[in-house]
Symmetry: D2
Subunit: 349 residues, 4 copies
């Protein structure tokens, strides 16, 4: 940590800062510059986020040197983590594909889609039972009934299941029915929820908040790891910017950045980030090329009737073509993606 | 709602959209343009957020005409709402000032600050018992102990109390000890929490999310009003932008905008938005001039020792001067602000 | 400047950085931290923006300590600058009001509006002769003819004139006809234009770019001052953010921030920032309350027929009421604004 | 265009809007909704950007239906354009690679780098002779001397040359020495410059502005095409967002979006967007996977001594490896990239 003094700071003020640093357990190193003094504070990195220095008389600003996260950091764990969801490995040589509808609507719909995405090559079924909707008048999900349908779809198809949890009180029941617990973008800094999910020891898919910096995203993951749950997958799903031609802006740079700073696997959600199925294929290709460990794709057998997010859902046929299209990209970066049969008609199974 | 067809849309596709609209209860009005067809959909505004149209063949985009919120809208209720917190009125002719420390640290600290802000003119004591912190290693608040201290400070001083709740399970206990329940920026779209808080029938201070549009902010308020709790105050606390010289960017335009679109009172938090006490005074002046109904100010008698957010806390003396400074601004917009005694030294009481 | 070494940096790499710093004229001060080394570089502040250090082996990042601007800085000149436009002083105790149409359309329009804004209390007439338009098919301004009309309006009314220049080649002619040269937001980093305008020694109104940080804005001003032209007024006109309910987001914090970091006067443009005349009054009030030295307001006697930006233009009557409304705010911050006669009808003069 | 009337609009106001539309050459179609009237305006798409409607009494807002650009639109020209730079085709099956230093520093440096990037596989040499720098105290480029060095490097190596122009007055001389004229991000809306460059009939590389929407970027290109110069390449180089871990945020979605909306080729600049050579490879891979037609890469044989942007420059060896790495990605999307010899040491030629 570096404390930058004001150019006009007086001797007593400089000494005041040094004394405060000593009190806090840091060794202060004064550097007399041409126009001002700066003080380097040397100390154990466990002392994170000291406060109060900025308001001492004569202080202009405090510049942190060490990143605030520890357990998620690649400095702490050099090798990339592989999250194990039963026999499925996320973060290994194979790109993992999670696909399914935005919301669980009914058992027929779910089983139909589950069979189709499985046939096309997906390994994980996604589907929301608890839906965070910006309007209280929108469909809010089937809740526990939806969880049970996901469970039945899992038994029917052998797919793993990922679903979102919104409320700490529902973590237990969600954990019972799902293989991977999803924290949505709106809840990335819902710290009660993060801790509760951490305690389940279940694999977690942590979506990046719309306005979250890379550092805040890693700090949110740190909350889960701090509960001794290291089974965390980061999920880039777009950030909010001034650009309105897409629903949000996929921050493709965050994929290699997160993988450089952290050992955790990174999944990309091209559908939510763009808001349109039209961009699912080019963005999926870009994600795999940039080093993503997996994809989260919305698939619906009848997007026009979907209860939510129809415009960003692929039909099973388009999903099948998408997997074929990313397969050579995966090979080009020395990875693989499982491609199933080619679906030509929704009713074709 | 307007459905814009693609220039290449065929007759059958146009009819398909019209049939779908009829099914949904809308009356379609086709307009044959020079290059394309657009279809106006006339219907009861209760049908909000229809989905599925965007993915019908031939559709280019769907343009909503009616705002998605109802209960919060000034179209539904023309007169400005006054939220009553006991005998305190928020949204009336007097600017309400809420002040206190970022976090409740201990009883001495809290009572000391409470007395000072009361003496200076504040009507509400703010202080966090449950703290949302970006790091799991930061001070997380005194929780229930903190709530009890707020209660004692209230009894001691007669101030009303506002404090944040993070978890739906804690809403009941927080509601028991506080006069106003605060929803923080990170939880603005924590819909479980919004609903739970709505059900308490207590006054709510709803902070705008860092990346929330004005519309999303009003929709979050709609969640609370939809539970029949109309006692909602909106709180602008800055949005996240590219500018880094302040911690976030106070969106001063949102004050008159929110008041034009909605009947709810609007409070401004100049400390969190800027991240520095240096800007508290000019931003408070701007807020009152732009029509804010109240201010939320961080005050600490010893910012250098504050357990959180010291740099954005005013000393009681500075807070006292701030109230004196905004008083003539309030008069200039035909409102009033309560100014107490002038504090010259922290220990002066 | 602080050079932060990587935790794994080797002794030779550390020495390499120190040698490079010595070569560049800095005195290096090594601080051995617990996990890594940081090197403080002490040197004359004239050496700004050294490059190359970041790519030396073992370097993690370089943290600048000193602001990159000099001449615009309040550290260099402590007292606030007053820009003199003939006998008009900008930055003194009086709030200066600049008003007029977006574009000069014809002589009648301009003289009519000029007389009305003068009568209402404005001191400067604004009006574009060269218009930067996002579409090549929009009205691009009357160019030299427009300049001559501005000149005639000045002679007719005694108002000072401010108008925008787009092209370095046109600086000379624009300078001949105007009292204040405006650099528009899109040209804030058009460095050829900044230098050319600097050389005229005329007062300059420098609008902030839509995506410009406070520091970049001050650096753009530095370009003009570096040509020995100190007659610069900064103009905040909104920044681009995710919020779309206003055309851009007025960064009200930039007013006190710019005035703290720099000695230059700050003007606020509430019309362009919001894109609607409805917000002109509350934002003007906020600007004056926050410490702005002047306002730039679009006024058109017939907004529905305006060739550009009609929706953000006030009628002369509304402009007249706006001045009356900000007058008490100005008094509340111990300043004054000139309020002329009350206009009740456009044709009333 | 759709005109949305206020719910309270009166009959006369609605008729007023309809009459105005008729005057402007539109056929108005009134739709009586449940809560308000909307008016569809049918007319020839050449009437773009009508103004004035928003300020008519009773109007709430105006919603444009047709995109404001024409010549750049894929609706006007369905097939993808191939820009021909001599015998080099941009936008065809081969990914074009442009590489070289940020700034031309001296002839030795330039020729050395030119030979190295040519050997590695580049087809175009980039290098700045006129440099837009945020500080007036930074190196501003060698100007005309730099242009001559670029010319000599071209003769020496057979590479095409791309270089930036900043000032309309310098367009002629820049055009004389370069094969492709670059418009930098800061000048994307420098309309005088766009027009001047359009008139040269030379190929143009148009960088996207830091805060430019996709639509504004296409409108800037429209300025050049409106001068009958159709030889335009769009260049995505990152947009400004709240994320600070990279210098700007590469908007990867803009690549497929721009190619869907426009027929022009799209180039990606991974170095400027990220600000670090470390991300050049993953972002180049993502760009090619997403459909980019070319890459713009900073290469310097001695980044630590580079006069600008060293941290984002690759060494020739890294550049050579980057081309090898993207080659299989190019094949995976059925395109090709020219890969030259493998460079193992800078001095190796």
């Amino acid at each position: 940590m570096i404390v930058v003094m004001q150019p006009v700071a007086e001797k007593e003020q400089i000494e005041g800062v040094e004394n405060k640093l000593l009190e806090m357990g840091f060794a202060p190193h004064r550097i007399q510059g041409v126009g001002r003094v700066v003080i380097g504070a040397v100390g154990d990195r466990k002392i994170i986020f000291p406060t109060g220095l900025e308001v001492l008389p004569g202080v202009e600003k405090v510049v942190p040197i060490t990143a605030p996260y520890k357990l998620v950091s690649r400095q702490v764990k050099e090798t990339s983590s592989v999250v194990e969801v039963g026999d499925l490995k996320v973060g290994g040589s194979e790109i993992v594909v999670m696909a399914g509808p935005c919301a669980v609507e009914n058992e027929d719909q779910l089983i139909t889609i589950a069979r189709l995405v499985k046939a096309a090559g997906a390994q994980v079924l996604r589907g929301g039972a608890f839906k965070p909707r910006s309007s209280p008048y929108s469909f809010q999900g089937l809740e526990q009934e939806g969880l049970k349908m996901l469970d039945r779809a899992r038994q029917e198809t052998g797919l793993k299941v990922v679903t979102e949890v919104l409320n700490p009180q529902e973590v237990e029941i969600v954990a019972r029915y799902t293989d991977i617990i999803q924290i949505g973008a709106r809840n990335m800094q819902n710290f009660s929820l993060l801790r509760e999910v951490g305690r389940t020891m279940k694999p977690v898919l942590l979506k990046r908040g719309l306005a979250a910096t890379l550092e805040e995203w890693l700090m949110a993951a740190e909350y889960i790891l701090a509960e001794d749950n290291f089974q965390v997958m980061l999920c880039e799903r777009g950030i909010r910017t001034f650009e309105t031609s897409t629903r949000s802006t996929l921050d493709i740079s965050s994929v290699p950045q997160a993988k450089e700073l952290s050992h955790l696997p990174v999944i990309v959600d091209p559908c939510h980030s763009s808001g349109t199925w039209r961009l699912a294929e080019p963005l999926s290709k870009a994600a795999v090329a940039a080093g993503a460990d997996g994809l989260l794709i919305e698939v619906h057998h009848n997007p026009a009737e979907a209860l939510c997010d129809g415009p960003q859902s692929l039909t099973p046929e388009k999903f099948s073509r998408l997997l074929s299209a990313i397969s050579p990209i995966a090979r080009a970066v020395e990875r693989a993606v499982h491609v199933g049969e080619s679906l030509s008609k929704t009713g074709g199974l």
